[in-house]
Each structure stands twice: as structure tokens, then as C-alpha cells.
């Protein structure tokens, strides 16, 4: 029976501290469990509450075991919701805690847990990827490959890419896992990888799997220029790899041998108290197992290769740094260590506030200097718009209007002949001149030409249907011709348009002649109050009433 791992920890305080951490976060889980008991709802599923009476570490281990046994995407497993509350906060736990916990776990659980932690946070990614590499050594390679298939390829490459440069058994294992997952590496990294690879057919084949077919030629070229064949063993290695690269490949990568006894030994070496932890080992051998996230010594080609394989290669000093994120993000990350969102927000505010202030301030428009007005305009307009009637005024219209006004002068002086000729001149210049058309009718009416006057008035009404007095003249012409129906109709139209009292009185007179006293009385009675009190109206009304009585049967 394997002794409880906590019992072999160095010092009781470490165990106590670890338990405190788990208890603190277990409180969160307990509250969540209570909520689940009440609502019986978790993330879309119903789960039984966590059993009580276990220590925090046992809770964690139990959850890990449950989680590891469930199928599917690790993030979508039912236990993940509870596990993440316990596991993720522990990512910053002391190294000793993980050095103690991980060896006590089943390797598959440890591998899953470390990969999940590496996935959760970029800051601790390197450490937990390294732990994942260590955990993968403790299980058959095929099993590790199956487990690692659940994770994104870039994450696996970030962990197992640098491991290609490790000595066996990690190097070949990494090659197998990457090949099995179909992950390729950059051709430029291959010389560094090959330099530390031992010549074994399976390993070379796995390395060949890591090269995309279209990059074979560039790999061969790189090997010829950057691979030092002068070192003992390198020439043979080079030729063997080229042969493997050029030959047909096996469909499946070859699984490296795995010895359980060796794995157990490695496991016991990983336990604290026996040997230094992988981190300590890493610190003791800085030139081979430096964390890729550590500051890279510019002179260490191996460290550079590790960084390239992990995707964290920092360009040498002197070259422009092209970061993928925003400039504020870069500044924040490298200088201020402030959260990216806050920096972007401050940047956005810094841009928007001055813009708002600028647009909110009213700036008077610059007025151009006005020069003296020229005596004649540069371009004489062809027409104007009448500001009152909105009619287009041309020179022709003005000439017509001028003739009309002249005709008005003669008309007022009762010189109808001259007036008529002027009105006709105006009409010839502007056939739509309503005033001229009307005045032609007036001149003809006065001169006795009823037919001509009628035509003129009707034309003027066609031009303007509500022309004042046109209907009145037509009524007079009709009355003179004894066409009373027409006359009354025209009187009514004119009265409807103007409501003029003089028109009303003339209309009433016509009705009186026809003996239609009731209509006449009704018309006068219906006048507006401002007219109905006038003396003429009152007298006429009285006369009409008397005549109506006389004519009444």
C-alpha cells in the first residue's frame, strides 16, 4: 500500500497550509453544493451533492478521479464545474503542494489536471506544461497521446515542443505524441532538434512526421547549412534522417518503448523529499531545461530553439518587436503590468474626450471678406423669382406687365381704346397674363362687345378660376342678354368667391326683377353681421319684404 503522500511531506506545516487552501476553496464548493441542493440545478444537469466528511485534499482527489473517468471534452464534463472551483484557484499554490499532490495522483489524472491548469492561465502555463510532460512519462505513450488529443494543438505544442530537445525518454516521447496528434514544427527548428536526438529508427521517423511534406526541401536545405555534421555522430544522424525524410513514411508513428518499472522510479523521483522537484532540477540545469517563459539568454541557441518550439520565441534585440496585440496592451504588459481591458478603456477615453470637447465647442464660421458691390453684376440673371407669387419673372414678362400697367393708366382715365391695345400687347408678350386678359374683357364689355367680353372673361377664368369680378361681369353680360339662369349662376359664383356686399346687392336686384323675393330676402338675411346692419342692406330688405307681401297669394 502506498503511504499517504501527505505523510511523507517535509514538515507538518506544509500539509496544514495545503489543507487550508483546499478548505478555503472547498467553502466555495460547499456553498455551490447547497445551492444545488436547493435548486437541484447545476450547469444544465442535476448532480448529487458532494459527500461530506472528507478532507479537502481527498475531496480534490476524488473530484479529479471522477472527472478523469468521465468522457468527452474535459471542459464539458459534469464534474468540471465543481472541480474548477477547487482546482483553478490552486494554480498559484506553493510548488511543494503540487510536488506532493501530483505524484499521488494517477498519472492520467495528473496529466489532465496539469494540462487544464496550463490551459486556464498563460502565466502558469509553462510550469504546468512542464509538469504535464513529467506526468506523461509515467504512463504508456499511447495513453498520453489519447489524453492529450483532448487539448488544443497549440497548447500541446507549447508543452511538448520544447520537450523535443530533451534527452530520452522525454524527447522521443514528445516526438511520438506530436506526430500522433499530427502536429508539425517549423522546418527551421529541426536542426536544433536533430542535434539532441539519438539515432533510433522510431525517433527519426517520428521527427519526420513532424515535418509537413511541403517543407521537406527546405528542411534538407536547412540541415545542409545549419546542422553541424563535423561533430561525431552527426553525419550519420544527418544522412539517416534525410533518408527517412525522403522515403515513404509509415502511416502511424512508432510508439517508443515504455517500461513501467522505469516509470515508477521516475515517479518516486518526482516525490518531494527524495529528489529535487522537476522545477528544482530545472533550476539546476538552466542550459537544458530553462522555462521557455524565462528570460532567454541571447547566446543560447538551444534556449532559442526551445522558445521557438514553444511559440514564445523573443526576437533578438535590435529587431522591431511586432506584437500581435494592441500597442496599449504591449505597453501595459511590458511596462505597467496593467490589465489589457483597462488600458484599452483608458486609451479609448483619451481619444473620445477631446473629440467630444472639440465637437461640443461652437466655433464661429470664418466669414469671407466681402468686396465692394459692382455697378453691374458679373452675370446678369436670365430670370427672377417673384418673392410674393413665386412666379418666374423674365424680361418678356416684365415688358408685358409694363404694357399692362400702362393700359391700367389709360383704363383709369377711361381711354378704353388705348387701354385695349396696350392690354393686347401685354397679352401677346405673355399669353398667361391674367390681368391683361381680364382688362381686355372689361374694355370690350364697356365698348359693348358682349361676345368678345364673354370670351375674354371666360379665358381669364381658365387662367385663374378665382379671379375676382370676372364672374360678376359675366353675370352682367348674361343679365343684359336676359339669360337669367346664367346670370344668377354667375352672381352666385361671384358672391361665393368674394362675399362682397355690392355683389350681393346686385344679385338681390336681379332676383328682385325676377320676382324671386324669398331668395333675395334669404340672401340678404344671410349676410355677415358687419354688412347686415348697413343702411342700404336694411332698406333693401325692408323693401323686399313689402314687395313679397304684396306679391304673396
Amino acid at each position: 500500500m502506498i503511504p499517504h503522500p501527505l505523510l511523507v511531506m517535509r514538515g507538518f506545516c506544509h500539509r496544514f497550509q495545503a489543507d487550508l487552501l483546499i478548505m478555503e476553496h472547498n467553502g466555495i464548493m460547499a456553498r455551490r453544493t447547497c445551492f444545488q441542493r436547493e435548486s437541484n440545478v447545476t450547469i444544465g444537469k442535476t448532480r448529487p451533492p458532494a459527500p461530506a466528511g472528507l478532507s479537502p485534499t481527498q475531496d480534490l482527489r476524488k473530484l479529479l478521479a471522477t472527472w478523469a473517468d468521465e468522457a468527452g471534452d474535459p471542459l464539458a464534463r459534469p464534474s468540471w464545474g465543481d472541480l474548477q472551483l477547487l482546482l483553478i484557484p490552486l494554480k498559484n499554490a506553493p510548488t511543494v503542494f503540487w510536488d506532493t499532490l501530483l505524484p499521488s495522483l494517477v498519472p492520467s489524472q495528473a496529466l489532465l489536471a496539469t494540462m487544464m491548469l496550463a490551459r486556464s492561465d498563460a502565466h502558469v502555463r509553462a510550469i504546468f506544461l512542464k509538469r504535464a510532460c513529467g506526468s506523461s512519462l509515467l504512463m504508456p505513450p499511447s495513453q498520453a497521446a489519447i489524453l492529450l488529443k483532448l487539448f488544443p494543438k497549440d497548447l500541446v505544442l507549447a508543452g511538448f515542443g520544447p520537450a523535443l530537445l530533451e534527452r530520452p525518454p522525454l524527447g522521443p516521447l514528445a516526438a511520438y505524441i506530436l506526430a500522433r496528434l499530427g502536429i508539425t514544427i517549423s522546418p527551421g527548428d529541426l536542426p536544433a532538434v536533430l542535434a539532441v536526438t539519438s539515432e533510433s529508427p522510431g525517433t527519426l521517423e517520428n521527427l519526420a512526421h513532424l515535418i509537413a511534406p511541403e517543407h521537406c526541401d527546405s528542411v534538407i536545405e536547412d540541415l545542409q547549412t545549419r546542422f553541424d555534421v563535423s561533430k561525431p555522430g552527426n553525419r550519420q544522424l544527418h544522412d539517416s534522417f534525410i533518408t527517412v525524410l525522403k522515403s515513404e513514411r509509415r502511416s502511424e508513428p512508432s510508439e517508443p518503448t515504455w517500461n513501467k518499472a522505469v516509470a515508477d522510479q521516475l515517479r518516486s523521483e518526482q516525490e518531494p523529499g527524495s529528489r529535487a522537484s522537476p522545477d528544482d532540477q530545472a533550476r539546476q540545469v538552466p542550459d537544458k531545461t530553462d522555462h521557455p517563459s524565462d528570460t532567454v539568454r541571447p547566446d543560447s541557441s538551444l534556449a532559442q530553439a526551445q522558445a521557438r518550439l514553444a511559440g514564445t520565441y523573443a526576437k533578438p534585440a535590435g529587431q522591431a518587436k511586432q506584437e500581435s496585440g494592441l500597442l496599449p496592451e504591449t505597453i501595459a504588459r511590458h511596462f505597467l503590468h496593467i490589465d489589457k481591458n483597462i488600458v484599452i478603456g483608458i486609451f479609448a477615453l483619451a481619444i473620445s474626450v477631446p473629440i467630444v470637447v472639440y465637437f461640443s465647442s461652437s466655433t464661429p464660421p470664418e466669414t469671407p471678406e466681402i468686396t465692394a458691390m459692382p455697378l453691374t453684376p458679373e452675370k446678369a440673371p436670365k430670370f427672377w423669382t417673384d418673392a410674393v407669387t413665386k412666379r418666374q419673372i423674365t424680361h418678356e414678362f416684365l415688358a408685358a406687365d409694363n404694357d399692362f400697367q400702362m393700359g391700367e393708366m389709360f383704363f383709369i382715365r377711361q381711354q378704353y381704346g388705348e387701354a385695349l391695345s396696350l392690354f393686347r400687347d401685354a397679352l401677346s408678350r405673355d399669353p398667361a397674363h391674367v390681368g391683361a386678359q381680364f382688362r381686355i374683357g372689361c374694355c370690350l364689355f364697356i365698348s359693348g362687345d358682349s361676345q368678345g367680353a364673354t370670351k375674354a372673361f371666360q379665358k381669364s377664368l381658365q387662367l385663374q378660376s378665382d379671379l375676382p369680378q370676372a364672374n360678376l361681369y359675366l353675370a352682367r353680360i348674361a343679365a343684359a342678354a336676359q339669360d337669367w339662369d346664367k346670370a344668377l349662376a354667375y352672381y352666385q359664383k361671384e358672391f361665393n368667391l368674394s362675399g362682397d356686399i355690392l355683389v350681393a346687392l346686385e344679385y338681390v336686384e336681379a332676383l328682385r326683377k325676377l320676382g324671386r323675393h324669398p331668395e333675395a330676402i334669404a340672401l340678404l338675411s344671410g349676410l355677415p353681421p358687419r354688412y347686415s346692419g348697413q343702411l342700404e342692406v336694411v332698406n333693401t330688405l325692408a323693401q323686399l319684404r313689402e314687395e313679397a307681401k304684396e306679391h304673396a297669394p
Binding site: 465692394a372 446678369a380 417673384d386
Partner: protein
Amino acid sequence: MNRRAVSFVEIIIALGILIVCMIPVLTMFGTSGRAVLKSQNLGFSIGLAHRVSQHLLVMPFDAITEVPLPGSPIADGPDDGYFNPVANHGTQISGALRITKAQTPDLWSFLRKYEYRYSLIVNSVNFAAGDRMKCVGIIITWKEGGKDLLYKLYTYVPDI
């Protein structure tokens, strides 16, 4: 999955709808503004035409001559008895003020801005010996909103 928050796209779409709905309201401001401006210019033009018509009544009959279109400018115009000189607060002719940028800048700038001009269409009629009358068409023109506008007033000036 219940969404209770407002997404970014929804905010932008709502803003766009708001701006579109505000456009008719905004055009209303411009329309009412143009109405007031037109009223100001028409009222001023009527006053100018009336001023000319009154000056015609005191002017010697034979001095009423035609001013053909496109018309004579009122600002920076010649001494015509209608508009220039416009005022004189002194006791001598040297104190007479004309509508120029130097002497009456405020009035000048207003008249210059709209390019006010006036023209007279004069027709003389002899009814009988000693009975003459002139039919004068007073035309005030100005520019507004890129248009050439016009106001005309006809008056009859007897020779008495």
C-alpha cells in the same frame, strides 16, 4: 441560454435608428429658419420699394429716368436721390453718409450680402397738355439661397 444583457451590435443598431428618426426633426429646423429669412428680406424689399415710390413723388418729373435691369446697386451705389446719401448728421454736404463699407458698415454689409439692386421701368404718358403721368415700375432684386428674387411695385407719378 437566457440573454439578458444588451450586446454591442444592438447598441449600434439602436443608435442608427435614433439618428435616422432625428433627421426629419433636424430638417424642420432648417425649414423654419429659411422661412424667417425670406420674410425678413421680403419685408425689407417692400420697404425699399415704398421708399423709392415716396421719393418719386418729390422728384422733378423729368428727373424720373429709367434705371434698366439688372439694376443699380444700393450698397456702393451712385448718388441717386433714392438711397445715397442715406443720412447726414452734420450741417453740410461733407457730412453726408453713403451706404459704403467705411461709412455705414452695418447697413452696407446687409445690403451687400444679399446684393440688393433696384431698377426703374419708366413709361411716360401724355393725356393732354399739361397732363402728363409717368408709370414707374420699381423693381427690387436680391439674391437669396442661390436664387435671384424680385419684388415689383408700380406707381403712377403725375406731373403737377
